[in-house]
C-alpha cells in the first residue's frame, strides 16, 4: 500500500500552489510536508472527494485548506468510510459489462418508457381521477373555447333536438347517460367535432351542415363517444404532461444542441399517442354503430364527406400524424362494414346495406381525385391541441 502521495496544496486564504507530499504517520495521522508547508493531524478530520475518472482528488482540511492529489485509487484506503457509493459507481463506470448493461437499460427505458411506461403511468393516474374532477376540467376547456371564438349555434332548434335525440340514444347504449352534446358555430375551425373531458361532445354547425345523412352524424358522434368512454382527453393530457416533464429533464443535458433535439422526439411521441387513441375511438365507433344495427359504412361515408373540405384543414403539417391517414380509416370502416353485412344478412341483402348504394359511386370518384393521404378532423379534446 502506498503511503505517500504527491499533491498540490492550497492554504485556502491565497491562490499560491505548494508542491507537497501527503504522508501517513502511524495508523490514524497524516503529515503534509513541502514548499513552506508543514502540518499534521488526524486522518479522521479530513474529507476527500469521491473517485471519478482521472479527476484529481481533493482532500479538504478542517480549516479550509485543500490538497489536490493526482487520481490514485490507493488513497481510498485512508478513508474506508467515505464516498463508498461513488466508489462503487466508479467501479461500474470502468466495467465494460456494466456499461453494456447500462446502455441496454437506457435504450430499453427510452423505448419502453415512451411506448408503455408513460401511457401506463398516465392511465393509472387517470383511473384515480374522479369523474367530477374531469367534468370541472371539461367545463373550463369549453369556457376557454368559447372565449377563443366559438359562438352559439345558429342551427334551427328542431334540427338540434333531432340530432340530440340520436346522440342520447347512442350515449345511452354506450353506457354514458350523462354525456352531453353541444352545438357551436365555429367558422375558424370549420367542420369538426371534439370530445371534451367529462362527457361533453362539441359538434360545429359547419359539420352538421356538411354531413348529408344523419347516420353519418351518428358515426361521427360514435367516434367522439369512443373518446369519452375511454377518457382519451384526460389520458392524452396526462401523457403529454409526462413527456413534457421528461423532455425538460433532458433539456438541461442537451441545451448545447438546441431545442430541436427535444422537440422532434416529443412531437413524434405525442403524435404516436394521439394516433393510437384515434384508432381506438374508430374501433369503438364501428362496434357501437353495429350494435345500433347501423353499418360502419357510415363512418367511411362521413370521412369521405370531410375529405372534400380539405382546403380548410390539413394546412398544418402536424395534423398529418396526429391522426391515422384518412385512407386507412376509411378502409378500416369498410372492412368493419363487410363484417357487419355478413353478420346481418337480414339488414344487408347481398352484402349491401341500406343507404350504401347511392353513395358508392360518389365515393369512387372522390378516391380517384384525392389519394388517401390527407387527414381529417375528428379530434379529441381541443381543436388546437396540435399546436
Amino acid at each position: 500500500m502506498t503511503d505517500t502521495f504527491a499533491g498540490t496544496y492550497y492554504d485556502g486564504t491565497g491562490g499560491a500552489a505548494h508542491a507537497v507530499a501527503l504522508r501517513r504517520v502511524g495508523l490514524a495521522h497524516y503529515a503534509v510536508e513541502g514548499e513552506g508547508v508543514h502540518r499534521g493531524g488526524s486522518i479522521a478530520s479530513l474529507r476527500i472527494t469521491p473517485r471519478l475518472a482521472r479527476i484529481a482528488r481533493t482532500v479538504e482540511f478542517p480549516d479550509g485548506a485543500r490538497l489536490l492529489v493526482a487520481h490514485d485509487a490507493a488513497i481510498d484506503a485512508w478513508f474506508p468510510r467515505q464516498g463508498r457509493l461513488e466508489a462503487l459507481v466508479d467501479r461500474m463506470e470502468h466495467h465494460a459489462q456494466v456499461v453494456a448493461v447500462a446502455i441496454v437499460i437506457c435504450a430499453a427505458s427510452l423505448g419502453a418508457g415512451g411506448f408503455w411506461g408513460v401511457p401506463w403511468l398516465s392511465d393509472r393516474i387517470a383511473d384515480a381521477v374522479p369523474v367530477e374532477v374531469e367534468k370541472t376540467l371539461g367545463g373550463e376547456v369549453l369556457e376557454n373555447l368559447d372565449e377563443l371564438g366559438l359562438k352559439a349555434s345558429t342551427l334551427a332548434a328542431d334540427r338540434r333536438d333531432a340530432l340530440a335525440t340520436r346522440f342520447r340514444k347512442l350515449a345511452h347504449d354506450a353506457g354514458g347517460d350523462d354525456y352531453r352534446l353541444e352545438f357551436r358555430d365555429a367558422k375558424s375551425i370549420g367542420p369538426n367535432a371534439f370530445a371534451i373531458p367529462g362527457g361533453t361532445v362539441v359538434v360545429t354547425d359547419q359539420l352538421v351542415k356538411l354531413l348529408g345523412d344523419d347516420r353519418e352524424f351518428d358515426a361521427v358522434v360514435a367516434h367522439e363517444i369512443g373518446h369519452q368512454r375511454n377518457r382519451h382527453a384526460l389520458r392524452q393530457t396526462l401523457r403529454g404532461s409526462f413527456v413534457a416533464i421528461v423532455a425538460a429533464l433532458f433539456t438541461g443535458d442537451v441545451s448545447s444542441a438546441g431545442a430541436v433535439v427535444v422537440a422532434v422526439p416529443t412531437f413524434l411521441l405525442h403524435s404516436h399517442y394521439s394516433r393510437a387513441f384515434e384508432e381506438e375511438a374508430d374501433r369503438y365507433a364501428f362496434d357501437l354503430l353495429a350494435r345500433e344495427n347501423e353499418s360502419p359504412h357510415w363512418f367511411a361515408a362521413a370521412m369521405n364527406v370531410l375529405e372534400k373540405t380539405r382546403p380548410e384543414r390539413g394546412h398544418r403539417m402536424s395534423y398529418l400524424s396526429s391522426h391515422p391517414s384518412t385512407g386507412d380509416r376509411i378502409l378500416a370502416a369498410e372492412n368493419a362494414a363487410q363484417v357487419f353485412a355478413a353478420a346481418h344478412p337480414d339488414l344487408c341483402p347481398n352484402g349491401v346495406c341500406p343507404g350504401e348504394e347511392e353513395t358508392e359511386c360518389e365515393d369512387c370518384n372522390d378516391d380517384d381525385e384525392s389519394p388517401p393521404t390527407s387527414s381529417e378532423n375528428l379530434s379529441c379534446s381541443k381543436p388546437d391541441d396540435d399546436d
Partner: protein
Amino acid sequence: MEDIIAVASPPPPPLPPSWAAGMPEQVGPARTEHRFEFSGDAREYFRIWVVNLALSVVTLGVFSAWAKVRSERYFYGNTRLAGQPFEYLAKPLPILKGRIIALVLFGSYVLAGQVSLKLQLATAAVLALATPWLLVRGAAFRARYSAWRGINFRFVPDYGEAYVRYLLLLIPIVFSAGLMYPYVKAKQKSFIVEHHRYGGTWFTFRATPSQFYPPYVLAWSVVVACIFLTSLVAGGILMALMAHEGGTPPEWIALIYAVPMYGSYFVVWAFLAAALANLVYNHVDLGQHRFRSTLKGRQLLWIYAGNTVAILASAGFLIPWAKIRLARYRAENLTVLAAGDLAAFRAETRADVDATAAEMDGLFDIDIGL
C-alpha cells in the same frame, strides 16, 4: 445561450478585447496569456454518462442528483487554467431538493396548460415571480461550489436588482416592440457578471448596452430578410402550382416555408451566440486581469448542427460526445490575459461576508438549472 457563463466551462465570467491589438489600450501591466485547457474525453465521459443515467432510471430519478454532481465534476476537473484544474464541490442532496421543486413547479405549469388557460396564466405568473429569485439562488449555488486554486467563487445575491432586471425591465421590452431587448440583455449580463467574485476579488463589466445592439440588429435583419425571401419564393411556387393545377395546395408546401425559416433561425442563433459570448467575455475584468474570447460563429454553427444531427440520429447516445465537443471548443477559445501573478488572489476575509447572508445561503441551498 443564457448559460454561456454557467455551462461547460466552469469558470464564471471572462473578458477583454479581442481587438485589443488595434486599440489604444490604456497602458497597463504586461500581460501573460493563459488559455483554458479542456482534457475531457468522449469515450470516458460516455461511460460515466450512461452508467449514471441508467442508475437514475433504475432509482426513478433519485440518483440523478448524484449523476449531476459526477458530470459537473468531470467537466470542471478536466478544465484547467494555468495548469490548475477547476473543482466542483457541490453535494448531491441540495441538488435533489432543487430538482424536486423544479419538477413540481414545471409539472403544475404543464398540467395547468393542458387544462385551462386561466390556470396556466396563474401558474405562469407565479413562475415569473419566482424566476429572478431562482436565478439568483442558482447562480449563488454554482458560484459557491466552484473553486480554483483552493479559492471559491461567490455570487453575492441582490434580489431587488434581480427583480428589476429580470422582471421589471421586461415591461419596456414589450412597449418598445422589442427594441429595448438588447439593452435589457446587457443589463442582465452586467448584473450576473458584477455580482460574481473570485475569493476577495470582484468581477467587473466594461461593456455598455449600446455594444449589444449591433449583433442583435444584424441578427434581426438577417432573419427578417430570410422570412421575406422565403415568403417570396414559396409564394411564387404556390401561385405557380395553383395556376397550373388549380385546387388546393399540396401539404408539402408548408415545408417550403418551415425549413428555410427554421434553418435561418438556427444559423443566426449560432452566430449570435458566438458574438454575444465574445462581447461579454471580452469585457469582463477580474481585478487587473482580463479575458479574451475568440468563438467563431461558423465553427459554433458547425458544432451545434453536428451535435443536433448526431443526437437525433443516435437516439441520444451521442449526447456525451456532443457535450465534450462543445466544452472543448469553448474552453480552447477562452484566454485569461493575466496582469501579474494568478496565484496572488486572496480568499474572502470574514469581513467580506455578511453572516446572515451566508446563513440564508445554506438554508436555501438549492440548484435549479434554469
